[in-house]
Each structure stands twice: as structure tokens, then as C-alpha cells.
Symmetry: C2
Amino acid sequence: MPASNSLNLSGNRFAVAYRLSCPPEDAWTRAQDICFEQTVEFPAELLPPGEIRDHLVGRVESLEELEPGQVEVLVSYAVETVGAELTQLLNVVFGNISLKPGIRLERLELPDSLLQRYQGPRFGRQGLRALLGASGRPLLATALKPMGLSPRELADQAYEFALGGIDIIKDDHGLTDQPFAPFRERVERCAEAVCRANRETGGRSIYVANVTAPEEEVLERALLAKGAGAGGLLVCPGLTGFDTMRRLAEDDRIALSVISHPAFLGSWVTSPTTGISHYALFGQIMRLAGADAVIYPNWGGRFSFSRDECRQIAEGCEAPMADLKPSFPTPAGGMSPERVPEMLAFYGQDAIFLMGGGLHRDGPDLARNSRRLLDLLLQYR
Amino acid sequence: MPASNSLNLSGNRFAVAYRLSCPPEDAWTRAQDICFEQTVEFPAELLPPGEIRDHLVGRVESLEELEPGQVEVLVSYAVETVGAELTQLLNVVFGNISLKPGIRLERLELPDSLLQRYQGPRFGRQGLRALLGASGRPLLATALKPMGLSPRELADQAYEFALGGIDIIKDDHGLTDQPFAPFRERVERCAEAVCRANRETGGRSIYVANVTAPEEEVLERALLAKGAGAGGLLVCPGLTGFDTMRRLAEDDRIALSVISHPAFLGSWVTSPTTGISHYALFGQIMRLAGADAVIYPNWGGRFSFSRDECRQIAEGCEAPMADLKPSFPTPAGGMSPERVPEMLAFYGQDAIFLMGGGLHRDGPDLARNSRRLLDLLLQYR
């Protein structure tokens, strides 16, 4: 995914690479259509001359045939069309044309002048490792589940996982504020349980609370989680919007790590000819939106991302983006301890391995199962 | 799209129809997978017996082969898994499985007990007609554009459109808070211009302000628009999240009509085997999220929705949903006055025809162009 087809833009334009599924002879017309559709949305012949036509309309910077019927086009846009708004950046980049078939957003090429308007991940890899006191190995994460357990039962799980040395113990993304596990009670109990286990072990595990919630409650729940002693927030940006996650990551009153979950984002990546590349969606956009760790379904599990798509995500999580910190690729979805060696070989140390159900398969002693997993990981170091 | 395959559920369960692309012999296994993936996300054999297994796990209610390789499955879920949260409803309905290929969300079947937790469109068709004083004909809408005009130029346009009798004059969805047209100045000028035209004509046109914005500014901009005299809000739920739109629609301090724009929603509907049906996305979900009018690209314009898909949207906008008001289908995207007769034949009176660039093609006198369009519409009444 690194750009063969990139260019140096002055600070007042940014660029987007799209993959068009069309015969090469149609590519210029389709690329021109993108330039207008994403900016002025107006008939070219009726545009007033001057600034609008010369600067605000998108501009085709290059075209390159990748393979028969696949053309990569690089379109540049004026920075002032988007300002510092992530919502508007996504709008100009892929708003209307997301509705047209045969256009896939491949990658963003954002100048430092634009990137400087984003804080990005608050902790990033280094910060999260420092918080957790874990170096020289991938981090381990798990999810509290199944939905339906009481806060007390979930907290018991959290305690066991922390006792066993799991670094990040997060709510399952299906836990919100249901009668069987109301938000406040769940979060208070789970945070306390992890804290208690840490006192006993000297460890630094964190509990991560799911704050995917109705718009008017997200901030309140995040502050409540902070107050209760949670060490991070889980957000599903497909449900809340990417900008809600960005806001949570940037809020200094919260100042917690942020982990993104891919729920309700699938349709962006399930078709090879439309949507957004794994690199841009789970790498670049998640970082603009402040994710310290990006959960996605690993190859070979119960989902269908390929090895290559997962590699793209890992690349997008660390590709240079001005001062934005790299985030952790966090493969999940049907992982099990047996897969640790191949995941290590594939991802190296800078990843978080998220196992949910897989940690329950070796019997009910979750602390022991966790410890075994950690030992396994250290053994391959 | 009306359900051949529906069932009567007690008030404590709701159902979702999915279209699976798979051989019929695999359908049961895939349907079972959905039941677990969307709720407990846990190995079946490890679930504790009782309430979780018997009630919280999704349940396959029926399977029906629609055509070779296409099976419709109806899955029911417990209402307490979602409560009154739209974010969590979307999560249970399609969160994780959006990431799996070959599953398309076709329609929601929500019991009144669940629908009663939603306010839905504040105005609906009747309310919007009353507000605009327009009956017995489709409503007319247009967009202020192109991006790059000053607030004064946009306000001049708005004035002309209102003078010519366009009912709804909205910001182009690309106008947010850019240096060439800052939000406050644009909204104040445009609202004032439409108000002034109304005084001159005795008309009741409204200006609709785009409040798609960074999370922490959406509410502020909506209140500012309200204070300035706007008659509605434009929201791109693909950018803000659906729940932000719902919140704006429900907020009594705002109490403005809400129009949804489809930007950044395309990947949900560009593949026939994944994503969400036009009926569910632009009909049912938009109504749950409070849209009085739902913009989408009309068939035959510069986008690629088919006649049938547009018909599904129109059906979804008015299908019975307890006390939720029907919304207006608002076809757009390369519309022109010449198409009025066929659009009338297709949609009938209960639609909003949105024309942007098309109103500029007959010369710079926008009031005259608008009047001609309105006359054309009345002529076919």
C-alpha cells in the first residue's frame, strides 16, 4: 500500500488515491467526475471563473493502470475545503462517491500542515506500553463475556484475567447499559476488580470500558469510567461516528487510552471494488480518530480478512503521519493460544493479541489459562 | 420488501431478516452463527444454561430459499439486549456480521414495545407540509452551491429560490464551516434571506442548515441555526453517526425538521450481497434516527440506484412503524425539470424533489427558474 503513485503537494492541498474499476479509456472522465462530485457538486460549465474553478475543485494529479480494468487515480483537494474537521475530511474524501460503484478509497496523502490539526492517538504504542509496563512482547487483551452475566460475574472474570497477567481487559462490545449489567455498576465493579488484582500481583493491567452509547451519554459514561478507575475506553466508531472517538481521545478531562472496535464497519471493506481499503480505514482513519489500538478480525479466524489485508492494517497503523503516534494493530476474532507462534511471526512484537472465547476453552480457571497464554508468549520471545 | 417471511413476536423479542448468499444446505449453520456472533459471541458449548442460552442468544425463526443460492433467514433477538439505544440496536442487528461476506440486512421487524422507545421524525410528512403550507403536490428542495461562494452570495441564491417558491432551501452538504463561508455568518444570512423573501411573497419556504460537524460542535451549531431562524437541519448520519441525528431530532430546544443526507453511507448499499437494503437503511433506520426527509440518489441520475431500489426506499419511508411518522423520500442527484413528469408518476405526491445544479441550467435568474419548476409541478397536479 505504500504509495508508488504519490506526489509532493504544497501544504495547501492534500491527496487521495482511489482505485477505479473501469477500462483505462474511461478513467480520466471518472476521475474528473470525482473532482467535481466531492467538492462543488456543480456543472463545470456553470462554475464562476477564478478561485473556485482553479483551486477548490478537485484536481487529477495522476492516473496509473494497476492491472487490466483497475486504475489508480490520485486526486488532490484544497485543504480549506476540509479545515480541521474530521467529519468534513471524510466527506470530501469519500462522501458522495461512496454511493457510486467501482470506486475504492485506497489511501490518504495528508500534508503535515493538515495532520498537525489532529492529535491522533493519545498514548500510541510507546505510551500504552509505558502505562502497562510491558515491553519486548506483544500485549495481550481479552473481552468480558458473554452478554447476560451480571456485573459481579463480569468483575470476577476481570479479576481472574488480571491475576493471570492479561494486559487489557475490555468489555465485550455488546455490553452497553442493559438491565443484566447496567453501565455504572459494571464499570465500577470491573475497574475495582482489576485494581485489586494488580495490588496482589504488582501488575498493571487495565480495564477498558465500552462507552459506545447514545450521543448524549457517551461523554458522561467516559467520565464515569475515568472516575471509576478504568484505564481505557472501547469505542465502536461505526456506531458512534469516527468523530465521537476523536473527541474522546482528545478530551484532557478523560485522558484515557482508546481502543476502536470494528462493529458496523464491515460494509466498508467487504467488497474489493467499493468502500475503503483496510490500510486507510483501520490504519490511517482510525489514527486520525485517535485510536491507540485498532481491533479487527484476524486472518484465519472466524472472519474473512486475508493475510494481505491484515498486513495492510498493520502497515497503516505505523505509516508515517507527521507527529501522529502509531497505534497497535489488534487482531481478534476466533484467536486461540495455539495460534500465538504464527501471529508472532506475522505481526512481530508490536501488536495486541485479543482473545475472547479462546481463553475459556481450557477450563474455568481463567487466571491459569491467562498465565499459560502469557508464558507461551514469553517463551517465543 | 414487505415481509412474506415475517412472524408475530411477543413484545420481548424483535426480529431481523437477512439475505444469505450460500447454498441452502449451509443456511442453517450460517444463521446459527449469526445468532451467536451478534449476541454472546461465545462458544455455544461453554455457555451457562438458563436465561443466556434460552433467551439472550439470537434465535433462528425461519429460513426460506428465495432463489438459488439466496436464502432469507429471520433471526429474533431479546429486546433487553438493545434497550432503548439506537447505537446498540444497530450493533446487535449488524455489528460484527457486517464484517462477514454474504450477509445482507434486509429489514427490521420491531415490536411496538421497542418502537415506542423512539420518537422518530418530529414533523413527518404531515408536519412538514403544515410547516411549509404545501399540500396536494410534491415538495421542492434545492441546495445552495457551489462550495466557495461567500455567505452573501449563498444568501442571494437562497433569496432567489425562496422568491421562486422552492419549499426547502438547504446548504449543500459540503458547506460546513470553511473560511470562504463560516457557519454562523452563512446561516444567519441565508435564514434572513429566506425570511425576507417569505415576507415579500407570503410564502413559507425554509432554510435548512448543514450541522454535520465535529462532535463537540453539532449541538451548538444546531442551536445557532435555530436562533438564526433556520427551519431545519441537514445531517449526514454517515459522518456523524445515526444517533447524533436522532438526538438532534428529539431535542425540544431545537424542535426543527431534520433532513438526512447520504454522504459516506454508500458502501452500505453498493454491493447486492453485503451491507443493508435500501429499504432498511434509507427507510427504517433513517426513521428511527428521526429524519423527516431522506435524501438519496434517484434512479436515472448521475448515481446508480435502480428504480426498484428507489421504490424500496419510498416504501421504507412510509411502512407502518407503530407511532413513528412517515418521512419523505427525497430523490436527488442529477435531477432536472424535464424529469418532473416521470418522477411524479413514480413517486406520487408524497415526495420531495431535490434539484441542485439542474435549477441553474436555465440561466442565472434563479427565481424565474424556480417558478417555472413549481408551475410545471402544478400543471401535472
